[in-house]
């Protein structure tokens, strides 16, 4: 069983893995065989005919991109005959390509141009067959990118990446022979097709046929500098190259590199086209101080002096616990570390929290109880290698798009069986073997029933349970009544489907659970997480490669903000505030007495603000006026504060209420690190200069801290990370020089530690090393539908926008794709209310009322309505309930009772 192959190319011997092609082998030893249609992410096409090589003993030339390397092969890659042939092939290709290198944005970064030069072709050898440029092709109405058929060489890369990588099949080849063109069915505008505007086609195009519209005439390869950084949107942590104009210093476009970890050159519409906010004229450029209800611009010294004075006054008058800080899942690890240090040391309180409370607090509490550590157990690349992928409460395609496409690929290729449990018909349901469309808030009933079936049929992993876990009997005892029939009544899912799902899950050698806010944002959030942990422990699906429990973290750095101690009960690395030895350690390192009591959480801080006991609040990069539940209550709390300071890029809805607003630098303007959802610490690099007087968050905080009597000084973000590594065991080996090419996954305990791709191998990180089962019973959502409010509202997000829209709604491309929000309503519920397509409806709960356009769709189940919370003009969180999970203190964003009426009726 030889798994490698040795062959000879141009007199050099090379050994490659079995299954690799001749071209792969050649590239491995630096032999540059020209190729236009190859992209490592795609199956070989063999269409461009440039990679033809001579293989001794074979009568014809072979396409090296599609011919597997075989033992003993003798290959010649560049004989005179091959050179001549390549020249002809290129001359024929050029005949179809409009020669416009002088005005082409792709000049200098175009494979066709490179090869034409290399083989010194005659551009006019054959009469031109170029396609006429017509304005009416399938991209005519696109703001994101343009297809120019006159430059297209029909290599097929765009069509294949859309099908094989993105799994969308929006575009195809039409007609044949020289008439072939890339287009959609019936040349429909892309916008009205299934296209997700990921721009993968643009990324892979070897010529200038597909190009980003906004980058037109902004610079060619030689005018642009590429700065590798980490995307600031979701927790996937795509590695992106910001292309900066050397002339203007502006961000011109975003590109990616196949092979990069974790995204392999893939990214989504936000990552590729959503960065115009960086140069938005609405960016804050000067500190603002509110006087008589109006903002005026101020100098930094004046603003910081004022903030320091007011916070110090409030501290001495009401004590340190009348102050609090919200750190930011958008900011870097270094900034989060500095902010929590400031709140604990300079303010003197543990009242530090951030929006992780609103998304994955129950993951941290639940998984810490069951496994000892609240993070994804596996790596992103392991997901598609699992035999079964159980996606529950995660609209992965929209919210973690690049992970979404890997799940879609796994399902489409048949390598994994996908089970989806979601109240909505999300995109992944079309790739799933089973869709369990349960009612919002009934997750524990569903999961318990699956566990019930597994136990009933003896499908559990006895060996694993005995060796590696505890608490099994207590858990199993509580499940006798949790039959699939019982769950059917509660969840509205056929019992037989639950049985099938349980059998598929338990029957897999490796099963990976993917979940997100559909699980966590409930008053039973911790229970939901514990139930999933039970399921994984029961079937031995944790602590091994490809199998585990994988919470997908929402924000770019929500994992890092938690890791850095942006939480009221822990310092960096989850070292407990209540643990005297941890407190002692940080106290000594920081040279200050630290508060003993764990602090308050986000919603508790808001509650105290409205009660009047919370006096001063610092908010960095968060917008609770849209993101928190029951925003009428939030607004009342914020207005009730004696002093509110907001640090942000823009004058957000929250900043409007502040006494002082401090302009902050964006991710593109700073050095630092983000930690993605797979615990990978990745570099963020400065690519552009911050506008006006906007400053780095950590510098602002250090200046403020000094003014409040606690001296903090750092020369650079790197120096902050050195302190983090020194004080945080799981980050002990994180040093910038180690992160240059690829990030490291924590735990990474020292300089030589390679990082940890999957957790809990051999032992769990709980003190006794065992995984723990927890009995979980079904508890219904706090607010159930009734006669007055008969529908369940569940909230969430969408692909084209991000959180409170502060950044995405300023993007030309994203705003054009989705200019406003909508309420998803089932056709039968619409009919019963006399609501028709195009209507605006009034949606109300016990807490508020909004007007919003309706989208009548079978995507939601009858009795359930859905809204994304991105839109300030119809804020979903005016309706949601601030009921909390008792342990995690996470609010129930995913279920509350509402009524929907035709707007006209209401008037």
């Amino acid at each position: 069983m030889n798994s490698t192959v040795t062959l000879t190319i141009d007199n050099q011997t090379v050994t490659v893995e079995k299954g690799k092609t001749i071209l792969d082998a050649a590239m491995q030893i630096g032999i540059d065989i020209p190729h236009l249609c190859k992209d490592d992410r795609l199956t070989p096409t063999g269409a461009c005919r440039l990679c033809l090589v001579e293989v001794e003993g074979r009568p014809k030339l072979q396409t090296s991109c599609s011919t597997p390397a075989e033992p003993g092969m003798v290959v010649h890659s560049e004989t005179p005959e091959i050179r001549k042939l390549r020249k002809t092939v290129l001359e024929l290709t050029i005949a179809e390509h409009r020669l416009s290198c002088t005005t082409c944005d792709k000049d200098g970064d175009c494979l066709l141009q490179d090869y034409a030069y290399r083989y010194h072709i005659n551009e006019h050898k054959y009469p031109s067959l170029e396609h006429k440029v017509t304005t009416m092709n399938y991209t005519a109405r696109e703001k994101a990118f343009v297809y120019d058929p006159s430059k297209c060489i029909r290599c097929g890369r765009c069509v294949k990446i859309c099908a094989e990588v993105q799994g969308i099949h929006a575009i195809t080849f039409m007609k044949r022979s020289y008439e072939v063109m890339v287009t959609t069915g019936f040349n429909e505008p892309l916008k009205t097709t299934v296209c997700e505007t990921c721009g993968q086609c643009v990324g892979t195009c070897p010529t200038g046929a597909l190009y980003p519209k906004a980058a037109k005439q902004k610079g060619r390869a030689k005018d642009l500098e590429k700065i590798r950084t980490t995307c600031v949107y979701c927790g996937v942590g795509c590695q992106l190259d910001l292309n900066i104009s050397r002339k203007t210093g502006e961000l011109v476009m975003v590109s990616t590199e196949p092979g990069s970890i974790p995204n392999d050159g893939n990214t989504c519409v936000k990552g590729r086209f959503g960065y115009d906010f960086v140069h938005s004229p609405k960016r804050l450029t000067k500190p603002l101080i509110k006087e008589q209800g109006k903002f005026r611009e101020a100098e930094w010294d004046e603003a910081l002096d004022l903030v320091a004075r007011r916070f110090t006054e409030l501290r001495s008058e009401f004590g340190p616990h009348a102050l609090a800080g919200f750190t930011s899942a958008r900011a870097t690890n270094e900034e989060n570390y500095v902010i929590q240090k400031f709140v604990r040391s300079a303010m003197g309180t543990n009242n530090i929290d951030h929006c992780a409370r609103l998304c994955h607090a129950s993951t941290v509490t639940g998984l810490a109880r069951a496994f000892g550590s609240g993070a994804m157990t596996n790596s992103i690349k392991e997901i598609k290698q699992a035999e079964v992928i159980f996606v529950i409460g995660s609209n992965t395609t929209e919210n973690h798009p690049v992970i979404g496409i890997t799940i879609r690929q796994a399902a489409d290729s048949g390598s994994s069986t996908v089970i989806v449990a979601d109240p909505r018909k999300i995109s992944l349901t079309s790739n799933a073997a089973i869709h369990l469309q349960h009612r919002p808030g009934t997750d524990t009933a569903l999961i318990n029933a699956m566990i019930h079936v597994i136990l009933e049929e003896g499908l559990e992993d006895r060996g694993f349970i005995e060796e590696r876990t505890e608490g099994f009997d207590e858990m199993a005892e509580t499940l006798a009544s949790h039959t699939p029939e019982f769950a059917e009544k509660i969840c509205g899912v056929p019992a037989e489907d639950i049985r099938r799902a349980a059998r598929i899950f338990a029957g897999a050698e490796t099963a990976s659970i993917i979940y997100s806010m559909g699980i966590t944002q409930h008053t039973t959030g911790t229970d939901n997480v514990l139930a999933l942990a039970n399921l994984a422990l029961l079937t031995g699906n944790v602590g091994k490669m490809n199998a585990g429990v994988n919470p997908l973290r929402g924000q770019n750095n929500v994992q890092g903000a938690c890791d850095m101690g942006g939480l009221p009960d822990v310092y960096s690395g989850y070292q407990k505030v209540a643990d005297p030895s941890a407190r002692e350690k940080f106290s000594r390192a920081w040279g200050v007495e630290l508060p003993e009591e764990p602090g308050l959480t986000v919603v508790e801080i808001m509650n105290q603000a409205s009660e009047g006991t919370m006096k001063g609040l610092l908010i960095v990069g968060e917008n609770p006026m849209l993101s928190d539940p029951d925003i009428t209550h939030v607004e009342q709390g914020l207005r009730n504060l004696d002093f509110l300071v907001v640090q942000d890029l823009f004058l957000t809805e929250t900043a409007e209420l502040a006494d002082v607003v401090l302009p902050a630098a964006s991710f593109a303007e700073k050095e630092g690190t983000f930690t993605n959802t797979e615990r990978r610490v990745q570099r963020v690099r400065k690519a552009v200069t911050a506008p006006g007087e906007a400053r780095l968050d950590w510098e602002i905080i250090c200046d403020l801290s000094r003014r409040m009597g606690y001296d903090m000084h750092y020369a650079s973000a790197e120096e902050i990370m050195e302190e983090i590594a020194f004080l945080t065991p799981i980050y002990g080996g994180i040093f910038y020089d180690r992160l240059e090419k690829v990030g490291l996954q924590w735990p990474c305990r020292d300089r030589n530690h390679p990082g940890t791709p999957y957790l809990h191998k051999d032992r769990f990180s709980r003190p006794n090393g065992k995984g723990k089962f927890h009995p979980v019973t079904y508890i219904q959502p706090r607010e159930m539908p009734d006669e007055e409010y008969p529908l369940i509202l569940t909230t969430g997000r969408m692909l084209q926008h991000w959180h409170t829209g502060t950044m995405t709604r300023k993007s030309i491309v994203l705003d054009d794709l989705v200019p406003h929000g909508a309420l998803e309503l089932h056709p039968e519920d619409a009919e019963a209310r006399g609501i028709v397509r195009g209507d605006t409806v009034a949606v109300s709960s016990r807490r508020g009322m909004i007007h919003v356009p309706v989208n009548i769709t079978e995507k939601v189940r009858k009795g359930t309505v859905f809204m994304a919370f991105h839109f300030h003009e119809h804020p979903a969180n005016a309706l949601t309930i601030a009921a909390l999970d008792p342990i995690a203190k996470i609010p129930e964003f995913k279920a509350c009772a509402v009524k929907v009426e035709s707007f006209a009726e209401k008037e």
Partner: protein
């Protein structure tokens, strides 16, 4: 070849209105039957499309969207296949489909001049249908009758060694047939 139940097909044919796409409530059950009859066979897309086209004379957009959905084949792929084969048409065709062979032999023997003459005579271009819905004009790629080149096919009838000067006569013959048919119908 039609593998749908007869009354559904009859209902569909009765519901057709010129200038309109077929009514979906009549069309989709027929397509379902056609797909079912090919169930389990790989590569069924082309025969399914052929069956629909034989029935309707062309492939309306709504039929392709439904085929895509029912067969779980991306819409772009279905339309790509349709555009690849000259046999398929997404436009309604006339009573007589004229296909002029442009294969090598026919081309060499003057097929192009024949095509030009037909274009002039009918006042339509390749891919179009005459205003009176009598004639549609298309180009073929070798009908396998090279010995008889240049060849023109009108529906299923092969016309051999066609000369540009004989085109008018050829078309007149079909125009007359059409008129006679119309009269008989009245």
């Amino acid at each position: 070849m039609i593998s749908a139940s007869e009354h559904k097909v009859d209902h569909l044919m009765e519901s057709l209105k010129p200038g309109h796409e077929p009514d979906e409530t009549a069309l989709f059950p027929v397509i379902d039957d056609i797909i079912t009859s090919y169930h389990g066979q790989g590569g069924a897309l082309i025969p399914v499309l052929q069956t629909i086209q034989n029935m309707l004379g062309y492939l309306p957009e709504n039929s392709l969207r439904y085929v895509s959905k029912a067969m779980k084949i991306p819409f772009s792929e279905v339309t790509g296949v349709v555009s690849f084969y000259s046999f398929f048409s997404t436009q309604p065709r006339g009573t007589y489909l004229i296909r002029v062979c442009m294969g090598t032999a026919c081309y060499v023997r003057g097929g192009n001049e024949v095509l030009e003459a037909i274009t002039r005579e009918l006042g339509i271009r390749v891919g179009e249908t005459s205003d009176d819905h009598q004639f549609s004009l298309e180009v073929g790629r070798c009908f396998g009758a090279c010995g008889l080149a240049p060849v023109v096919m009108v529906n299923d009838t092969v016309h051999q060694r066609v000369k540009p000067s004989k085109v008018r006569e050829l078309i007149a013959q079909y125009q007359q047939a059409a008129a006679e048919k119309m009269e008989a119908a009245l």
